[in-house]
């Protein structure tokens, strides 16, 4: 078979011309795939490259951690402030570095892990400062926020196809849910710290509620969607 553009004879079973990329086609000759001059492409060499970066990053994370722990131990004879550094770095490592060790960085799995690392950091701060706010404030607020975001990630990844307008339902619902979460936050602050209710939560509720509602309405009415698209397409 020849490439009709370049005029060169191609190897048996070639799907396209390696010079110009033109697809090989002849109406009367049926090309059957033949083994090429080299084995099929695999990603065998990428493993080394993939693990090198997170490994180096981990070492970079470990250097300040070890230095801080040693300095703290030397100056204070125990872990006083270096614990904050350690848990802070752990949170950052889980967020930045941990996904790099894996080829399939599925956010459905990694996001809750990252959320749990942040909650762990707040638990440490709470215990270290002798606070009583973790179970009554940090855990329910953090947990609810993780739940909302995880739901959005799952829906966008597995339920709604990319570019589908129904994404607006999900985002609208999520924004409204975050608005409602603000009421919970103010209430939990009131319960935990005995602060009187100021009802500041109504401001974010109003803004986020309207934003969420407008998204849902846009999803409901195709004419509105089309008008907005015409006005703002990029």
């Amino acid at each position: 078979m020849y490439c009709i553009k370049c005029g060169v004879e191609l190897q048996e079973g070639a799907a396209r011309c390696p010079l110009c990329g033109l697809k090989v086609y002849h109406p009367e000759i049926k090309e059957t795939p033949a083994p090429g001059p080299y084995p099929r492409y695999t990603e065998e060499d990428l493993r080394v490259k993939r693990l090198f970066v997170p490994f180096v990053l981990t070492v970079i994370f470990l250097i300040p951690l070890v230095i801080c722990l040693l300095v703290d131990l030397k100056l204070n004879g125990g872990i006083v402030w270096s614990g904050y550094v350690a848990f802070g770095l752990l949170t950052l490592w889980v967020t930045v570095c941990l996904p790099l060790f894996f080829r399939n960085r599925n956010p459905v799995i990694f996001f809750p892990i990252q959320g749990a690392a942040v909650l762990l950091l707040t638990l440490y701060i709470c215990l270290k400062t002798g606070g009583h706010w973790f179970l009554s404030l940090s855990f329910p607020v953090g947990g609810a926020l993780i739940l909302i975001i995880e739901t959005v990630i799952v829906l966008l990844r597995y339920v709604i196809p990319r570019g589908d307008y129904r994404i607006l339902y999900v985002l609208g619902g999520a924004v409204t849910a975050v608005g409602l979460l603000c009421i919970l936050i103010e209430f939990l602050i009131h319960v935990t710290f005995r602060v009187p209710m100021q009802w500041w939560c109504l401001y974010p509720v109003a803004v986020l509620g309207l934003l969420g509602l407008s998204m849902i309405l846009t999803a409901v009415f195709p004419s509105l969607r089309s008008a907005l698209h015409k006005k703002f397409f990029i």
Binding site: E9, L10, R16, C17, G36, Y38, R40, T42, D45
Partner: protein, 429 residues
């Protein structure tokens, strides 16, 4: 009485080899490969056996790279490495730790046997002799044919001669050093492949017609192919840099086998390069014009005196007492800087022609192809290796960028010049 175990041979790096370990990067090493395609599928067990028989004859080739305080050195490997199946890309990066184990790889895929060399070990000529001897031994084992030790095939019952292990640069260095080329030249820059995939596009043309056409223009095959490559590169630059005044010289680096000029039969590096090119700011060139320019430039450059003057400064640097006493890490920094400024920057790409490969007549019926592939430069995506065998010339163009721009220009030029071009590639589809 048990036979006393021989100590492994160790060798200082030859003068050309010194630069390659220092220039090595995390994702790049200077390597090349010679492959033999047989009529039948390669039997890996027989190939291993052939390698085990061949390796002791070439103690300067089956080596690993090691470090001492002041220099790298090569040490004979106790046992040859296992033969491995080829990869989807040739010349998979030789990492430092690979080279520390063995600086040569023997690979097989279907009916092809390939040997890949880290350039510190040997040059194309030495590599071809080793590959021919290995292939000859394989033919002996696989087809039970008595292959004569002619056409570069070494006798495995002989011990290596002293001349095969010598550093010929030191032997032939003269008193006069030519100034190093420092001209800034056109460097093609494409979009790099994210996974550094190396594309190989092989073009096969008729050697007889190539000779005929070269002779008609009064040039050698290498000059003809270099002119063709220059023509394609000049067009590529014209497309990328429309303003003529901003265009740079296009230079093709041609390795020259110094054994032909100075004699000797070293199995180590003995090669120098001639940078041949054209200045696009002077105007457009016709193809016959380019052939004439390349032919005459090559005639001027490739002489005993000129080549001696080109490699003499490197030998002088190696003999410099201050440099000698510098620890290896410091030498590496200096040599890498030298490599970056005068090693690669002075040429657009390399065209290495091993010429017509002759084999002993007993093994010829079993061999279909002999190919030569050189790896890309560290900062330039293209290079080209050429061999001729059995009336076919094999042009292997490698590239580590996404677009096959030069390949298209080069091979369609050949088609327009009247060649029937057969193209193969390791395209991922």
């Amino acid at each position: 009485m048990p036979e006393k175990k021989r100590r492994p041979l160790w060798l200082r790096l030859d003068n050309a080899a010194l630069i390659f370990p220092a220039a090595q990067r995390r994702h790049w090493s200077n390597a090349f490969r010679i492959s033999f395609t047989f009529k039948d599928p390669v039997d890996p067990f027989l190939l291993s056996e052939a390698l085990a028989h061949t390796a002791p004859r070439f103690p300067s080739v089956m080596v690993r790279l090691r470090r001492s305080t002041f220099w790298y050195f090569l040490e004979e490997v106790p046992e040859p490495p296992a033969v491995r199946e080829d990869s989807s890309r040739p010349l998979v990066h030789m990492r430092r730790r690979d080279v520390r184990r063995c600086a040569v790889r023997v690979l097989y895929y279907r009916d092809r046997m390939a040997v890949e060399y880290f350039h510190s070990v040997t040059d194309g000529t030495g590599a071809l002799i080793f590959a021919k001897t290995l292939a000859a031994e394989y033919v002996r084992l696989a087809y039970h044919v008595d292959v004569s030790c002619t056409e570069g095939v070494k006798d495995l019952s002989e011990r290596p001669k002293h001349e095969e292990l010598e550093d010929s640069f030191k032997k032939h260095a003269g008193p006069v050093a030519a100034p190093r080329d420092s001209l800034s030249v056109y460097r093609y820059k494409g979009v790099p492949e994210k996974d550094r995939f190396l594309h190989v596009t092989l073009g096969m043309i008729d050697s007889g017609l190539l000779h005929e056409k070269s002779r008609a223009l009064g040039a050698t095959v290498t000059a003809y192919l270099t002119a063709l490559l220059l023509d394609a590169l000049l067009e590529l630059q014209a497309e990328q840099v429309p303003l003529r005044a901003r265009r740079k010289n296009v230079k093709v680096q041609i390795p020259v086998n110094l054994r032909k000029l100075f004699g000797g039969c070293t199995m180590r590096n003995f090669v120098a390069v001639a940078n041949i090119g054209a200045d696009p700011r002077l105007g457009d060139y016709t193809f016959p014009e380019l052939v004439q320019i390349v032919h005459h430039e090559m005639q001027l450059a490739i002489t005993e005196k000129n080549m001696r003057a080109i490699f003499t400064p490197n030998v002088k640097d190696e003999r410099n007492l201050i440099l000698k006493a510098a620890p290896l890490f410091l030498k590496n920094i200096i040599m890498r800087a030298v490599f970056d400024t005068v090693g690669e920057r002075v040429s657009t790409m390399t065209l290495s022609n091993l010429g017509n490969v002759a084999l002993p007549k007993e093994m010829e019926p079993f061999v279909e192809r002999v190919e030569f592939i050189i790896g890309p430069q560290s900062s330039g995506p293209y290079n080209m290796g050429v061999t001729s065998f059995h009336g076919t010339t094999f042009l292997n163009l490698v590239r580590n960028t996404t677009e096959p721009e030069l390949e298209e220009k080069l091979f369609t030029r050949l088609v327009r010049l009247g060649f029937h071009v057969r193209v193969e590639s390791n395209d991922r589809g």
